[in-house]
Symmetry: C2
Subunit: 324 residues, 2 copies
């Protein structure tokens, strides 16, 4: 896992993955007390950065293997990213989802070209179902974060950040990354190590689900007590990955945890000042930039918005924070 | 008014005005029955394309004239675009607004660096107040659309559309432009005439405020019966301009009028599928692309989203269209 893999992924992604702009607003700068730049991966295909990793992984397969198709376990952004990447490559994808996943997510993933296979959380073994399907059809499993080509794909966002910041003569900044299993964080930190070595990545998580923050502080992988019950569900995972954690441990600064309320307020401000739609998990880094400046250093902070796949009702709640 | 002015404006804008991406979603393609690309100028500085024209006009002034400051009559997007362009140039701006303008718009315009001068709609003469201030301080008036350097600035969005479409190997498309006084429409059509001559601009307006459509159909400038009472207020003007109309008359195809309901549905879909915030007037072109395909030609349509400065309550109404 190194910068050459990220550069190679960037070449495979070129022309297929959207280069998202860096956004800003003087109103956000004032709230934060420093310059805030936002990398809105909600504007990426399928509404999250996960399309980068999906495309990278699918495109890295040799043609014969790819033609048989890919498989992923996900009810969220990874599912949509992999499904659409496979569809655009003209190859089949199977997405394994719990049968109680929201119908809209199931429908969206199907519409993006996937065969969705549902399993009963209580009585069936997800991995056994996936393994059997993969073996029967020769499908390649694409893991959501602990997979080098996925990390390489996510890292291409870091290459873009380095290039776009340099165009603005910014070389020294903390880069806040919405962090679940660490694929996005590890990929961006590897890209910045090579292309913008004065920048420092800071992982941001929801309070109560700050396994990466605790893992970094203790120097060993720590688990979350639970993985459900967060509005920021898109970035909640049991623990950092075996590949992603050592990269983060070597390269990133201390983690930051923000409350759900902070994330919702950041969503409201992203609507009002940037005209973008963030999901709660996608807004935690912006929340840290805006409301936790005491934990940050320097004149400029760059915050990723990792995704925008949010239900109307939750988004309305976020809008209501603007009236407080 | 020619392409050279637009190219010169693009040089002055480079590094200061945001290059907005071209967005898309397979879900929107399916609704439209053709490929839909969206140019989201809601992501521009100050939340609308008006910053382009504001920057172009301010930057085109000679240094001594500019240093004295600029003045504009507007309670909307033009006010914010001019104010912020002036602030970024380090020169004063005066914005004349009616005293009953929404407090939030007044506050925002002030926060972007302008001196806001309020007048009483019923008892005071806006132009007399502006003329007196301009004469006293040597301010330069920046008109919202019927001004060559403003049109040149708006036209830079057309240069970007031509370049971005060419990167996708798209040379032949109808380009739907949200149309008020015609500055955005005329500028884009001049840019495309030079850079993408197979593309055709189609102006889009709200029903009941379709002065440009009627003017094009009749070959002479027609007025709206009224200029208030539309949710799409950002793009409602009394009539096309004396400079913009002849350009549109020569270059653009027939106008399209869409209902407010269409605009609100397009806002909802832009939220859901593109993760962007559109204002009602900014969503009329996307509404035409999605719901009026019978009036369009070709496999690909490019729709501008001209702005995203929308109140929370109106946006919530747009979100509610997704449940229908």
């Amino acid at each position: 896992m190194n910068i050459d893999m990220i550069r190679a992924a960037a070449q495979r992604l070129d022309g297929y993955v959207r280069k998202t702009p860096l956004l800003s607003s003087p109103f956000l700068d004032e709230i934060a007390g420093r310059r805030v730049l936002v990398k809105p991966e909600c504007l990426q295909h399928t509404g999250s950065f996960k399309f980068r990793g999906g495309w990278s992984a699918v495109s890295a397969l040799d043609a014969d293997t790819r033609a048989k198709g890919v498989i992923a376990f996900s009810s969220g952004n990874h599912a949509q990213g992999v499904a659409y990447a496979a569809k655009k490559h003209g190859v089949p994808s199977v997405i394994i989802m719990p049968s109680d996943a929201p119908k809209l997510k199931i429908d969206n993933t199907r519409a993006l070209g996937a065969e969705v296979v549902l399993y009963d959380r209580a009585n069936e073994d997800r991995d056994a179902i996936g393994d059997a399907l993969a073996a029967e059809r020769g499908l390649t499993l694409i893991k959501p974060f602990d997979e080098p080509q996925v990390i390489a794909g996510q890292g291409t966002a870091g290459l873009e950040i380095a290039e776009q910041a340099a165009e603005m003569r910014i070389f020294d900044a903390e880069v806040l990354v919405c962090c679940g299993g660490g694929g996005f964080t590890a990929g961006i930190s590897l890209a910045l190590e090579a292309e913008a070595p004065k920048m420092k990545v800071r992982p941001v998580e929801p309070e109560g689900f700050d396994d990466v923050k605790r893992s970094l502080a203790s120097g060993s992988i720590q688990r979350n007590d639970r993985t459900s019950g967060s509005l920021c569900d898109a970035i909640v995972t049991p623990q950092p990955g075996n590949i992603t954690f050592p990269i983060m441990d070597r390269l990133v600064g201390p983690g930051i945890a923000v409350s759900e309320d902070d994330a919702m307020r950041a969503m409201g401000l992203a609507f009002q000042r940037l005209k973008i739609v963030a999901e709660p998990g996608g807004a935690v880094a912006l929340a840290a930039a805006l409301f936790h400046g005491d934990q940050l250093n320097g004149d400029t902070v760059i915050a990723t918005v990792s995704g925008g796949n949010v239900d109307v009702d939750v988004f309305k709640q976020a809008l209501d924070t603007l009236n407080d």
